[in-house]
């Protein structure tokens, strides 16, 4: 059986079991916990004396510092199955709460939960994962007082943090480990561009140089537009330039990137222009230097950062 089929079968089994047994809140609704919540959130609403803020409903039944899930808890059961399948990280994505009435100090809540839906595997910005949706009902005695649909993404992290890689010589810019949230869109590498990406892996910014007339050109191509020669070589740029132009990208979202980000056209000191991401507040004419960010063993991305004037 495939992983997908096995996970779906387990999900169906857990969903079939329906609601778990009611789990009682540690404490009844009480004023000190309300006051702590109001103080932390900064809410000065005058109505929460003897009455709890509705958005606190989930707080009352949280498992606590040493809390353990009960055996029949459907979310816990589903999390274990996905853990075993390698989907080890979790992030909450949706919470839809409906409050049937406000809760009074002294009322003692219990909660029941059932598994509503398990969907996957999906590719997300965080990595491949499964969306797990549960439905909870809060009770005071036999009376349902609030409900919640809660969805989490259980995922395989796309990139685990990496140890610092050895940097190149001091004269060339250091290769930095990628920030963990970075999951770059991969360039398509072909025979024309292979030398460029081989260069970034080594901490070199390479500019194509015509093997015939010596013309520098970027982006790379198979033939010199000046003399027609088809045997390109390259030279290694010093890695400095100025911002020729830029855009700030707000929308649409780009997989693995957090908007807004800056894409700048850099005019290198060697004369050619090159596109790249600029880390910092952009301005035309600004001096910049290249930075290499290692994504994985096959890919190192060049980007740009402001450079102090000398």
């Amino acid at each position: 059986m495939t992983d997908k089929a096995a996970i779906e079968k387990e999900a169906a089994r857990i969903a079939e079991q329906g609601e778990c047994a009611p789990r009682l809140a540690r404490d009844p609704v009480n004023q000190p916990m309300i006051n702590n919540w109001l103080e932390a959130i900064g809410d000065e609403h005058p109505g929460y004396t003897g009455t709890a803020p509705p958005a606190m409903v989930q707080v009352w039944t949280m498992a606590g510092l040493h809390g353990q899930r009960t055996l029949d808890d459907p979310l816990g059961a589903m999390m274990s199955i996905l853990d075993e399948a390698g989907y080890t990280s979790v992030v909450a994505t949706n919470s839809d709460q409906t409050y049937h009435r406000y809760l009074k100090v002294g009322e003692h809540l219990s909660v029941t939960t059932s598994l509503e839906d398990v969907t996957g595997p999906k590719r997300t910005g965080l990595g491949e994962g499964w969306f797990v949706t549960t439905r909870s009902t809060w009770w005071v005695g036999d009376e349902a007082v609030a409900e919640m649909r809660f969805r989490v993404l259980k995922f395989k992290p796309a990139h685990a943090p990496r140890p610092e890689t050895a940097s190149a010589q001091s004269s060339t810019p250091a290769v930095q480990p990628a920030p963990p949230e970075v999951q770059a869109i991969r360039p398509s590498v072909n025979r024309d561009t292979e030398y460029f990406w081989e260069g970034t892996r080594q901490g070199e910014l390479r500019i194509q140089r015509c093997g015939g007339c010596g013309l520098l050109r970027h982006p790379p191509g198979p033939m010199c537009p000046e003399c027609g020669a088809t045997k390109p070589k390259y030279l290694v740029s010093e890695g400095y330039g100025v911002v020729y132009s830029y855009v700030v990208h707000h929308h649409p979202q780009v997989p693995g990137k957090q908007t807004p980000f800056v894409i700048a056209l850099i005019e290198l000191d060697e004369g050619v222009r090159m596109l790249g991401e600029l880390d910092g507040v952009p301005s035309v004419g600004q001096r910049v230097e290249v930075v290499f960010t290692k994504v994985d063993d096959d890919l190192t991305m060049p980007s740009w950062r402001p450079r102090a004037d000398r």
């Binding site: 932390a40 959130i41 707080v59 909450a92 919470s95 992290p157």
Partner: protein, 127 residues
């Protein structure tokens, strides 16, 4: 309160103290909400606000504007970019539906990284 009315923009400074005190006040003891070293080990850039706090902030944003007499009936939220320590979380809102005494307010909470939360709050105004 009419359809199209905008709520005043509201900024929350997510200091580490804010992130941690709200996590504990909502009884959420997940390490990523109070332990920076572990949060970074798990691939996050810093500690970040927990979902129960986001729900609380969305509710507060609406009741600060609508006044204490309204009843909150629903808070539906979808989370996007995490709100990390040292982020400024900016809230925007607008009335999008009104049926007699029932109003629906659309809310967005945004940081420099993008939309942290988008959602709707349903309230009931006094007769």
């Amino acid at each position: 309160m009419r359809i199209g009315d905008s709520l005043p923009e509201w900024h929350v400074e997510a200091t580490p103290t804010f992130v941690i005190s709200t996590a504990l006040a909502t009884r959420d003891f997940q390490d990523v909400h109070h332990d920076r070293d572990l949060a970074i080990q798990r691939g996050s850039k810093d500690i970040f606000i927990n979902i129960l706090t986001t729900t609380g902030l969305v509710q507060r944003y609406v009741t600060d504007w609508a006044g204490p007499e309204v009843l909150v009936r629903q808070v539906n939220i979808k989370l996007g970019a995490p709100c990390f320590a040292y982020d400024t979380l900016k809230f925007f809102g607008q009335v999008v539906e009104r049926e007699q005494r029932d109003l629906t307010i659309e809310v967005v909470g945004r940081t420099a990284h993008g939309d942290h939360v988008t959602g709707t709050v349903k309230i009931e105004v006094p007769a």
